[in-house]
């Protein structure tokens, strides 16, 4: 049972014009793990996650979700996935409640189930007041939260979240952490990208460091960071800022 990875990427490659954004990524995400994907800006994290969730067709390579081939048999792989992308629009003419219902109905859930889960999610993510407001009036953090609710509504087995804590306030972040931790405890798998090393160290049991479109290191948190902390290891792997120039003109006195 546990031998089938929740998400397996094999030779995933994507080229945009002259740039090779993702360069043959192989990654196994074990079922039941809380997996952090970290990497510098432009490392190809979002591109990789887009290909792993059906949003972007890879030039080469395969993606399997609990053994189901995502690109060859999306009808069996996509229901297993819950997805929260980063930096994309939402259907902003719907209210928060309607957006969650929309996601639930797209997944084929019946009305009563959707109604119950919608109300649960709005309460759990502290969106009850905002449920009747159009998403276009939401703050960035609220949009993230309602996006997460959409990813959860069909009770997926694998969650793929791109920067789920970005712009979210500490109280809501705590609620999201609890939801995700309980989800992993019950046997679910979470894959999450983040720039915040402390958050990844706190939440994740596995981590992959991505840079230049490749996997630089991957494994359990302990294996990857060795003796030190994750941030040091990260800088060591991807390299520090090349020109550590002093901005003397920025000094106030």
């Amino acid at each position: 049972m546990t031998t089938v990875p929740a998400l397996a990427l094999r030779g995933l490659t994507k080229r945009f014009g002259a740039t090779l954004a993702v360069d043959g990524i192989d990654l196994d995400i074990p079922a039941g793990s809380f997996y952090g994907v970290v990497g510098p800006n432009g490392a190809g994290k979002t591109t990789t996650l887009s290909m792993a969730t059906g949003l972007l067709e890879p030039d080469a390579g395969t993606v399997t979700v609990l053994g189901a081939d995502l690109w060859a048999a999306p009808e069996s792989a996509k229901p297993l996935l819950g997805v929260l992308p980063d930096g994309l629009h939402t259907f902003d003419r719907l209210t928060g409640a309607e957006l969650i219902s929309y996601a639930g109905r797209l997944r084929g859930l019946d009305r009563d189930t959707v109604r119950a889960r919608r109300d649960d999610l709005l309460a759990a993510l502290d969106l009850e007041q905002a449920g009747q407001v159009l998403v276009m009036d939401y703050s960035a953090g609220m949009t993230k939260k309602v996006g997460l609710a959409c990813a959860l509504v069909h009770a997926p087995r694998v969650l793929v979240l791109d920067e789920p804590f970005e712009a979210v306030d500490p109280v809501s972040a705590g609620a999201i952490r609890r939801i995700l931790a309980a989800f992993v405890d019950s046997g679910g798998t979470v894959v999450m990208s983040s720039h915040v090393m402390a958050l990844v160290e706190r939440l994740c049991d596995h981590v992959a460091v991505v840079g230049g479109g490749r996997v630089l290191a991957a494994g359990t948190l302990g294996d990857v960071r060795g003796g030190g902390d994750l941030e040091e290891r990260f800088v060591e792997l991807v390299g520090d800022v090349r020109d550590q120039r002093d901005l003397t003109w920025l000094r106030q006195s």
Partner: protein
């Protein structure tokens, strides 16, 4: 600051040209078209030179009035304004409207259409040289002011229309604009139908031109005529009037720019909706049954009543049919039966107008894509949301036309053909929307701004989808034409054939679009976002 803003404009242009070769082709075609128009401009100029001052001024006023109308309405109908200098883009820079206005102003004059217009007016205005240097000076100032009036009016109309449509009264405003548009056409049509073109030209037009010459729509063009006749005072106050108008437009535009520098566009104003219309939709006849398609239908139904971009295309569908009915028919003195073109044209316009439907979702499309293999359901919901209002509208247009012609025995054929055209054009549009999507204005952006990089790809998609629709439509319309020209009995054939073909094309287009959607789902997001 002027140099900076203009440099941004030119640099954007240069980068785009380097990235997409077809953009250079489009630009080249535009320049070629302008060059091809040059001989006709020169012919017009020499024709004008042979006339006396009064006629010359009248001709210029007429030309300028038509051009102004075009500059004000065209950006609203075919989202044409390049948005690389959308004032909202300067929001994060903390500059004031006063600082960037000169730059925006200069950049507004540095577009291909504006340059061509300047050339045209300069060529035609130079005929006043034969009346002496003073008159030429008046003509130069007057026409320069006219040019500024047109270009500024285009900006103001787009800014206002955009603001109106994103306000909470958007629905009312759309309805009002459609009503006013039809109402404005009605008296013109009435007079044309009553008196015929030649009488109207002989009597009414002269009067209209005389009036226009005293308004900002033509004063600048009429000023040199007055000067040539020795009425220097008349020339002077017309120039002053025109200059005042330019100033007024400039102030209004600056206010709009200042507003968009601080006001976030596309906000709902905190409106609350207590009913979950996705889960518990209001009952409607054509709504799909299955969960996913019904959800998409509910979402699109909301968009069609509140999203400025959809409302703008809703208001746009009437333009062509109304123009045909109110202007083309009376001017060419066509037989009443030609009015049957109106519902057919309406159906084709509605259908073809949806050829980029999917792109209107912008990157929000991700939710539809990750939720499964839903191409069929998504397209079914989308098309049903259009057909939900389009079919009744087309039927009403049919009945209205029949009431006008009084030939009710043409009804079956007309209804059949119109339904057929609607079905065929919607079917073609559905396939095109999945196969050839191009970037549409993003949610919350001005519905009249063309997304940078969309014009050329849009052109290709528009061309292909219109050719596809036009090659299929004749098959549907042919029996109806036979009913009108050969024997009335063909009407029932047209009715049956139209409805069968319409439904078949709608269903077939939907099926094909659905399976294409599934096959291309990994490429759609990249193509439109």
């Amino acid at each position: 600051m002027v140099a900076t803003v203009v440099a941004i404009r030119l640099a954007t242009m240069r980068h785009l040209l380097r990235r997409d070769w077809w953009r250079a082709v489009v630009l080249g075609l535009g320049a070629l078209w302008a060059l091809a128009m040059l001989p006709s401009v020169l012919i017009a100029r020499s024709a004008l030179a042979g006339q006396d001052a009064g006629i010359r001024a009248d001709a210029m006023v007429a030309l300028v009035a038509v051009l102004t109308l075009g500059w004000v309405t065209v950006p609203l109908v075919i989202s044409g304004l390049d948005n690389s200098l959308e004032p909202a883009r300067f929001r994060s820079l903390g500059v004031s409207a006063r600082t960037i206005m000169p730059g925006l102003l200069v950049a507004a004059f540095l577009t291909l259409p504006a340059l061509f217009l300047a050339l045209l007016l300069a060529a035609l205005g130079s005929v006043w040289l034969q009346d002496g240097g003073g008159v030429l000076a008046v003509a130069t100032v007057g026409l320069a002011l006219m040019l500024a009036s047109m270009i500024l009016a285009a900006r103001v109309s787009a800014a206002w229309a955009g603001r109106l449509l994103s306000s909470r009264r958007a629905k009312l405003a759309t309805a009002a604009a459609m009503a006013v548009g039809v109402a404005a056409m009605a008296p013109i049509a009435l007079v044309l139908f009553r008196d015929g073109l030649s009488d109207v030209v002989a009597e009414d037009i002269a009067l209209v031109l005389e009036r226009l010459a005293d308004t900002p729509l033509g004063a600048g063009a009429a000023a040199p005529g007055a000067a040539a006749e020795g009425d220097w005072l008349g020339a002077l106050w017309r120039l002053a009037l025109q200059a005042g108008w330019v100033l007024a437009l400039l102030t209004v535009w600056q206010q709009n720019v200042a507003r968009s520098l601080v006001a976030p566009v596309g906000r709902g104003g905190g409106a609350r909706r207590h009913h979950d219309r996705v889960l518990d939709p209001a009952r409607s006849a054509g709504a799909p049954r299955d969960a996913a398609a019904a959800a998409v239908y509910a979402r699109l139904a909301r968009a069609w009543t509140s999203d400025p971009r959809y409302l703008a295309s809703l208001a746009g569908v009437l333009l062509l049919p109304v123009t045909f009915f109110a202007l083309v028919m009376p001017v060419f003195d066509l037989d009443r039966r030609w009015a049957y073109v109106v519902p057919l044209m309406l159906a084709a316009t509605i259908g073809w107008g949806r050829h980029n439907d999917v792109a209107f979702d912008s990157s929000a499309l991700w939710l539809d894509i990750v939720s499964g293999r839903l191409g069929g359901a998504v397209m079914r919901g989308r098309l049903a949301a259009v057909a939900g209002w389009a079919l009744p509208l087309v039927i009403v247009a049919c009945l209205g036309t029949l009431a006008w012609t009084g030939r009710w025995h043409d009804a079956p054929g007309l209804v059949g053909a119109s339904v057929g055209v609607l079905g065929v054009s919607l079917g073609v549009a559905a396939v095109s929307a999945v196969l050839l999507p191009y970037r549409a204005p993003a949610p919350g952006a001005s519905p009249f701004g063309a997304e940078v990089g969309a014009v050329g790809a849009g052109l290709a998609a528009q061309l292909v989808s219109s050719i596809a629709a036009m090659s299929l439509v004749p098959f549907v319309v042919l029996p109806f034409v036979l009913a009108l020209t050969v024997a009335t009995a063909w009407g029932w054939v047209a009715c049956l054939a139209g409805i069968v073909a319409g439904v078949a094309a709608y269903a077939g287009g939907l099926r094909l679009a659905g399976s294409l959607y599934d096959r291309r789902s990994g490429r759609l997001l990249a193509a439109i976002a």
